[in-house]
Amino acid sequence: MSTQPQPEHAAPSPEPGPSRVRFWMVCALILALALPLQLSVDAGLFPDVLNPYYLHLLTIIGMNIILVASLNLLNGYLGEFALGHAGFMAVGAYTAALLATKALPSAAALPPVLGTCVILVVTLGGAMLMAAGIGYLIGLVTFKTVGDYLAIITLGFNMIIVNAIQNLDFVGGPRGFTGIPKNTNFLAVAVCALLTLGLLRNLIQSSFGRVWVSIRENAIAAELMGVSIARAKNWAFTIAAAFAGLAGGLWAQNQQFITPRSFDYIKTTEILVMLYLGGMASLSGSILGVVAYTLLMELLRNLLSAFAPQLAEWRMLISPLILIIIMLTRQTGLLGNREWRWLRPRQGA
C-alpha cells in the first residue's frame, strides 16, 4: 500500500552472464509434458498413476496463475492495492458461459479439435474483451483515488458486479449458471497461462512496465517526467481485468457450473493470499505462490480428512493465517522483486 513505507530489500543486483534457459524453452518443455499427459488421462491410460484428480489440480493451478500474475501487475508493479479481481473474473466467466451456450454451436457439431479451438478463441476472446471494457470504465472512476480509497472502491465494484449478476435472471441469478459445455482441459489452460505469463513479462520489461514501476516508486516524479498517471494506470487496470476475464472464461468452461458467489471478495482474498505468498512485483513469485498455496491447501484437506473428516473445512482458517504470517515475518513473500532467470530480460539490465 502506498501509505506504508516500502520494506527495504535488495533490489535488482548484478547477475553476471546471460541465462541459457529462455522463456520459450520452458514453454516448450511444459507443453511437451502437458500434451501427452492430457491425452493419456483422456484415454484412461495408467489410471493408478495418472489420476484425473492430479490433472484437475494442475488445471486449477494454471487458472490461478493467470489470476495472480495479472493482479501482480496492479498490486506489485503498479503499486496500487486493487481488491476487485474476482469481479472481473466473474465478468469473463459469465460472458464465456453465455457465448458458449447461447451464441455458439456445441463442440459436437463441429470438427473435433479445431471446433473446440474456435469455440475457445471466441469465448475467451469475448471474456477478455468484456472484462477489459468493464475494467476500463471502472478504472476511469477508480484512478481518481489512490491507496486505501482505491482499495475500497475496487472492493465495492467487486460487490456490485457479483450482486448485479445475482439479479440477472437470464444467467440464473443466485442459483447460478448451469449446463456450460466443458470446452477446456488442462492443455488449454496451460497454453493460456503460458501466454499470459509471456505477454505480461513482455509488457513489464518494456517502456510500459518501466513507467508502471516508476509510478509505484514515485508518482510525482513520474508525472513530472511526462507520464500521464491516469492513462498509464488505466492501461494496467484494463490489461489486468482482461486476464482476470480470461481466467474466468476458462473457469466457467472447466467447472461447467458457476454461481455469482464463487466470485465474491472471498475469491479476491484467495488471489491476494497467493500473490503475497509468492511475492510482489515478481512473476516467478506469482507462479510459486499459486503452486505452493494450492498444493498446501490440498495437502491440508487430505491430512485433515484423514484424521477427522469434520476438520477438512478448517483448512480455510489456514489461508488467512498464512497471509498474517507473511505480513508479519516476510513482507516480500517467497520471491518478492526477484525473478527466475528464464523470466528475466535478456540484457540482464
Binding site: Q6, A10, A11, P12, S13, P14, L199, N202, L203, S206, S207, F208, R210, V211, V213, S214, E217, N218, I220, A221, A222, E223, L224, M225, G226, V227, S228, I229, W235, N337, Q347, G348, A349
Partner: protein, 256 residues
C-alpha cells in the same frame, strides 16, 4: 526565448505565496532564485511545472503557453526539474531510471511491446544504448545495475539531474541541488552544473540556499522574500542590496 513568466501569482487561503513574479530566461541562460526559507521559491517551481495552477499570470515556453496545463503535459512540452528532497525511483536500477525517462520516445506501442515485434527489439536496443551513453556522460555507467536508492547522496543528486536531462528538456529547473551536501560534494555539483550548461542546449533555473553556489554559477539572480521579488541583477550586486541583507541575512549583518 526560453521561458518567459509574467505576473505569476498564487495564494493559499489568505497567504500569498508568490506575487507578481516575472522572469525572462533566455534559451541558454543560467539564472538563480534565492531567498530565505518560506520565501516562495519552491512554489514558483511548482507553478511552472503545473503542480499548482497559478491564480494569475502567464508562463510561456518558447511560443507555447504552458500555464494551466497538467504537469505531465508541461513536462512533455520541455520543462524538467529536480526536487529539493531527491525523488528517484529508488528500487529501479540506475539504468532503468534513465531508460524510463525516454518513455515518450519509446517508438513502439502496447501491442508491439506485448508481442515483441522486430520494431520493439530495435527500439529497445536504441533506448538502452542511449541510456548507457547518457549514464557514461555523468560518470554513472559502472553503477547502472545498482538500485538507484542505494547510491551515495551525491550520486543520487547526479542521477536525478541526469534523469531530468534524459527527457530532452528545453528548460531545467534545479531545486536546491546543494542541499545537504558537504563542501566537496558542493564543489563537484558546481562543476556538474557548469558542464551541463556548457554541453546541453538548454536554459537552467536554479533555486539555492547556499549563496556561494549561486554566486559562482549565475550571472543573474532574483531574490524572493514573502513571495515578492525584492531585488534582481548580478549576484555580487544583489547581495550588497540592503533589502536583501535585511531579508536574507538578518538585519545589520554584512554578507560573508
Amino acid at each position: 526565448m526560453g521561458l518567459r513568466i509574467t505576473d505569476l501569482t498564487k495564494s493559499f487561503g489568505g497567504l500569498t505565496a508568490v506575487s507578481g513574479f516575472n522572469l525572462e530566461l533566455g534559451e541558454r541562460d543560467l539564472q538563480g532564485i534565492i531567498g530565505p526559507n518560506g520565501a516562495g521559491k519552491t512554489t514558483v517551481f511548482n507553478l511552472i511545472t503545473g503542480v499548482y495552477a497559478p491564480d494569475r499570470g502567464q508562463i510561456q515556453l518558447g511560443d507555447q503557453a504552458v500555464s494551466g496545463l497538467p504537469s505531465d503535459a508541461i513536462a512533455r512540452a520541455g520543462i524538467a526539474r529536480t526536487f529539493q528532497n531527491i525523488r528517484l525511483f529508488a528500487q529501479m536500477t540506475v539504468l532503468d531510471n534513465i531508460t524510463m525517462a525516454l518513455h515518450a520516445r519509446a517508438g513502439y506501442g502496447l501491442w508491439e511491446a506485448a508481442f515483441r515485434t522486430q520494431n520493439f527489439h530495435r527500439q529497445e536496443a536504441r533506448l538502452l544504448a542511449e541510456s548507457r551513453e547518457h549514464l557514461a556522460r555523468f560518470g554513472l555507467l559502472d553503477r547502472q545495475r545498482e538500485a538507484a536508492g542505494s547510491l551515495p547522496y551525491g550520486e543520487q543528486r547526479r542521477l536525478e539531474i541526469a534523469r531530468a536531462l534524459a527527457t530532452g528538456p528545453k528548460v531545467l529547473l534545479l531545486d536546491e541541488p546543494a542541499a545537504g551536501m558537504n563542501p566537496r560534494e558542493v564543489e563537484e555539483l558546481i562543476q556538474l552544473i557548469q558542464q551541463v550548461h556548457r554541453d546541453f542546449s538548454l536554459a537552467m533555473l536554479l533555486i539555492e540556499h547556499q549563496l556561494p553556489v549561486v554566486m559562482e554559477l549565475c550571472r543573474e539572480v532574483q531574490v524572493l522574500d514573502f513571495g515578492q521579488t525584492i531585488a534582481s541583477g548580478a549576484p555580487q550586486e544583489v547581495v550588497r542590496n540592503p533589502l536583501v541583507i535585511e531579508a536574507y541575512l538578518g538585519e545589520e549583518e554584512a554578507p560573508a
